[in-house]
């Protein structure tokens, strides 16, 4: 088991390096005239560091030394100091900006995933067990509808309906979970529900497919032949085996959640990474953009590793390959 873990960890390193290289190249691709434009804009803005010349911005982006050296500096900065550079707009360290906004997005993501799993798993399992009945078709059509509806539209409609019928609007103050749990949850409940319900569509279909496959297996047929009750068969034998790929799917939904968070945060005024990303793109703050990309990609990589390892833990056959 340990050998497997070590092997998987080693496999991650080249991919991680490639991720850093992609982010690194991204900043290199900033066309020259954008830098000139940034200089021109900064010259007129009064609240920022004044009169940044092209050379100063180049130096900040680290573009003034030969490329391999730039990459070395970049990597060293990240590994040793966790330094992702400084924001071009405000001058504050990128890491600080991101860490400040991270908790909101994490909370949104976690609640959304919990909602999605709570909805998708029972319906998916029921749909598979009662295949081709009216319930199954209802479940499948619901999943289809959930996948097709653009989630930002649902968010918008919820905001409209909320304010028209209940006089409710998304709150603007962010209260941390540790300060005031109830108010904090109240703020996240509706957006997380919206995101979770829409995400549950995909998980629903995957659960149904996996359950169907498992239900055809021999050991299930043996259990039937032995005379076990349906509930016992489903819970004790089928679900556990069907859940293994579903865990993978849930892990792979993380990038979808991050993407969805960008939009939902915009609609519901949540000060998270998604909003930070949008603001940075508007302000052409390339250091923050690359910082966010790097962080999120590494996070996804780690989650994939965790899912793989949990897969090997749940399914002993994988370990001994």
């Amino acid at each position: 088991m340990q050998g497997y873990i070590i092997r998987r960890l080693l496999l991650i390193i080249p991919t991680l390096l490639l991720v850093t290289m992609i982010v690194f190249c991204g900043v290199r691709l900033v066309p020259g005239d954008i830098i000139d434009q940034m200089v021109a804009e900064h010259a007129f803005a009064s609240t920022l560091e004044k009169h940044q010349t092209v050379e100063a911005i180049r130096a900040k982006l680290g573009l003034d030394v030969p490329i391999p050296q730039q990459y070395g500096r970049f990597l060293r900065g990240i590994i040793t100091r966790g330094d992702l550079g400084e924001s071009l707009w405000k001058g504050t360290p990128v890491t600080e900006e991101i860490l400040f906004r991270l908790p909101a997005t994490i909370e949104l993501g976690i609640i959304a995933m919990i909602v999605a799993v709570l909805i998708a798993l029972p319906i998916g399992i029921l749909s598979a067990v009662r295949q081709d009945t009216a319930g199954d078709y209802a479940g499948r059509t619901t999943a289809m509808i959930l996948i097709s509806i653009p989630y930002f539209w649902v968010g918008l409609v919820v905001v409209i309906a909320g304010s028209l019928w209940f006089g409710w609007s998304p709150s603007t103050d962010y209260v941390s979970f540790f300060e005031n749990p109830l108010e904090n949850l109240g703020m996240f409940l509706v957006p997380a529900l919206v995101l979770g319900v829409v995400m549950s569509g995909i998980t629903m279909r995957m659960t149904r497919t996996m359950m169907l496959e498992v239900l055809r297996q021999d050991y299930i047929r043996t259990a039937w032949a032995k005379g076990l009750r349906e509930s016992v068969i489903i819970v004790r034998h089928a679900v556990k085996n069907a859940l293994i790929p579903v865990v993978t799917i849930i892990g792979l939904q993380i990038p979808v959640v991050v993407g969805g968070a960008v939009v939902i945060e915009q609609i519901f005024n949540i000060p998270g990474i998604g909003r930070l990303m949008l603001e940075s793109i508007h302000q052409r703050d390339y250091t923050i953009i690359s910082g966010i990309n790097l962080l999120v990609a590494s996070f996804v990589l780690v989650i994939n590793l965790a899912v793989d390892l949990s897969y090997s833990y749940l399914d002993p056959r994988v370990r001994y390959r």
Binding site: T15, V19, I149, P150, G260, V262, L278
Partner: protein
């Protein structure tokens, strides 16, 4: 007695068979009613997109001064937006935008996925490992974030959106094509082809490609709704197709958000249009996948076997 040969039987069978496409269509209608509904929705959307000029009562950018934020009436069937433009016409022209992005983006994605998958899967060895590592690394970035970042670099516009969407979706799905290619790579007919001296391009084009068509068709059919929704999301965030182009997603942002309370119809119609079209395309893609799947073993190529049989029939005459 010898006249009732295999050839005669074959001929009789062939005369009963329809063309491949017709048979696919017949199966779709008979077995998958929901899929047929989806196909109908997509066809209607395509029709509206092509004949938008004749169907829309006004132009998509026709501003009637003083007629902004009017609720649905006989004159403006779906109401007007904050600039005084008729919503119905904008939605109709929006179908064109969605269809163009959907079809072009999917075409680009399919080509990209096929090329990458074919090369990576067929070459194997070092090429495969390197390409797969790069694909892995790209897959680590959440789609939306990566697209936003790239658009921040190359700017907005229909071409840019189609490019970004197509290439990214293609890279994401190259794995599926690669998997299919790897499954077929060691088949007898491929090895035989190589043994008699088939050049690699000829092998790829004439033997491997027809037999991996099924997953390619599936990813194309799922690509269209994905493109439409993602373009709408990008436009909603303000990084897709810029105004005054009537993108449904863009209609939901801008004027839509500011005036939603007093004019909810600004938000309802574009969203409804999006949902219906994407639902139809999704359902169609699903049905296509179900209809094609059992045929996966022969590829979409009854094509291969039909030709062989015809050739055999000719030879034996």
């Amino acid at each position: 007695m010898g006249e009732v040969t295999a050839d005669r039987v074959l001929e009789a069978e062939e005369s009963k068979r329809h063309s491949l496409l017709a048979e696919l269509f017949i199966r779709l209608v008979k077995e998958k009613p929901l899929g047929t509904v989806g196909a109908a929705i997509v066809l209607v959307c395509l029709f509206v997109a092509i004949f938008a000029e004749f169907l829309a009562p006004y132009g998509f950018n026709d501003i009637t001064p003083g007629a902004f934020l009017k609720p649905p009436s006989a004159r403006y069937v779906l109401g007007t937006d904050s600039l005084g433009r008729d919503m119905l016409s904008r939605i109709i022209f929006g179908a064109r935008v969605s269809m163009v992005v959907g079809l072009c983006g999917t075409a680009l994605a399919t080509i990209a996925a096929t090329i990458i998958g074919l090369i990576s899967g067929f070459a194997g060895g070092k090429t495969d490992i390197v390409v797969q590592r790069i694909v892995d690394a790209i897959l680590c970035f959440p789609g939306l974030l990566l697209m936003l970042s790239v658009i921040a670099l190359i700017g907005q516009g229909m071409t840019q959106v189609i490019l970004v969407l197509g290439v990214l979706y293609g890279i994401h799905n190259s794995r599926i094509v690669r998997g299919a290619v790897i499954a077929i790579r060691e088949e007898v007919y491929v090895v035989a082809g190589r043994a008699i001296g088939c050049s690699t391009p000829r092998l790829l084009a004439r033997h491997i490609l027809p037999n991996v068509m099924a997953p390619i068709i599936v990813l194309a059919s799922i690509g269209i709704p994905y493109m439409i929704v993602t373009e709408a999301t990008l436009s909603f965030l303000g990084f897709g197709i810029p105004p005054p182009a009537p993108s449904w997603g863009e209609m939901l942002s801008g004027g839509g958000r500011r005036y939603t309370i007093i004019a909810p119809w600004l938000v309802i119609w574009p969203g409804l249009a999006l949902s219906i079209v994407v639902f139809g395309a999704n359902v169609l893609g699903d049905a296509l996948r179900d209809v094609l799947d059992p045929r996966l073993r022969g590829g979409i190529g009854r094509y291969g076997t039909l030709k062989a049989r015809k050739a055999a029939a000719k030879v034996s005459h």
